[in-house]
């Protein structure tokens, strides 16, 4: 699962490999770090120090999210997030490799997290932190989503050769060979689902 922010005419803003590496690193480290600081700011007490810690955590999260919206319309994000029919053979090949890498990392993280939760819930002699409120689980949900969207792109940023400087300005600003088409049926399905869900909810309650 990934996310790609397609621009109106399908033009892809240029992002250097160095900036993509930096942005993906900021996302992958900034969000968990910010979440940990914000959620645990209460440990610093009730005063201004706790509030300052909370704001620091929120700032780190905002920086991570801004970095995500920097990479969202990029060529690398297009490879992992665009509909497969819009990609050429090299891009589909790169997507497979990026997804395989992300799968290995995510399954490792999920296994480690479940092991941690099992230990934290089982052994009462240890006072390990576990998520126990809506805020905790909400933060984890958005973090997992952000990792799903960013890990494949991070793989590409660290493995693809940097050839952006070889292209002329005309080439770099060109629209993709396969121009994206609006999937009206998909939008129709989403709107119909929303209306159907709303009606169903009203009928049940």
């Amino acid at each position: 699962m990934s996310f790609y922010l397609r621009t109106a005419k399908g033009r892809i803003p240029q992002r250097s490999r160095a900036s993509m590496r930096l942005a993906t690193s900021i996302i992958l480290t900034g969000y968990p770090l910010g979440a940990l600081i914000a959620l645990n700011s209460g440990l610093a007490g009730e005063g201004g120090a706790a509030f300052a810690l909370y704001l620091t955590g929120i700032a780190a999260i905002v920086i991570a999210l801004s970095a995500f919206f920097y990479i969202a319309p990029s060529y690398m994000q297009r490879i992992v997030g665009e509909q497969p029919g819009e990609l050429d053979e090299l891009e589909r090949d790169l997507r497979q490799r990026a997804y395989a890498f992300a799968y290995h990392v995510l399954t490792g993280l999920v296994a480690a997290s479940i092991f941690y939760l099992a230990v934290a819930n089982d052994d009462t002699r240890l006072t390990l932190w576990t998520p126990d409120s809506y805020t905790h689980w909400n933060t984890i949900f958005w973090g997992v989503l952000l990792y799903c969207f960013t890990l494949p792109t991070a793989y590409l940023a660290w493995t693809m050769p940097d050839i952006a400087h070889e292209f002329s300005e005309e080439e770099a600003g060109a629209e993709p060979a396969r121009k994206p088409r609006a999937r009206w049926w998909l939008w129709g399905l989403m709107v119909a689902g929303g209306i159907g869900g709303f009606i169903l909810a009203r009928l049940i309650t």
Partner: protein, 81 residues
Amino acid sequence: MSSPIYNRLPVLRAERGLSRKALADAVGVNFQTIGYLERGDYSPSLELALKLSEYFELPVEMIFSLREFQPLSSLAAKGGQ
């Protein structure tokens, strides 16, 4: 590990005064893919190789090779001897 595939795409493109974008549009890929092909960072599928061969009106083995192509200057020198 697969062996590298060498190609004459930059020479053929320069010969015909084509941009990467023009060649990419002609064979239905994105211009970045032509860039990766030219650098040898990517080996094309049989389909793409055949499309390029058809576009340049040359046999596939004149565009792609498992062995490094000799520079045209050295070929010309041999021909002159």
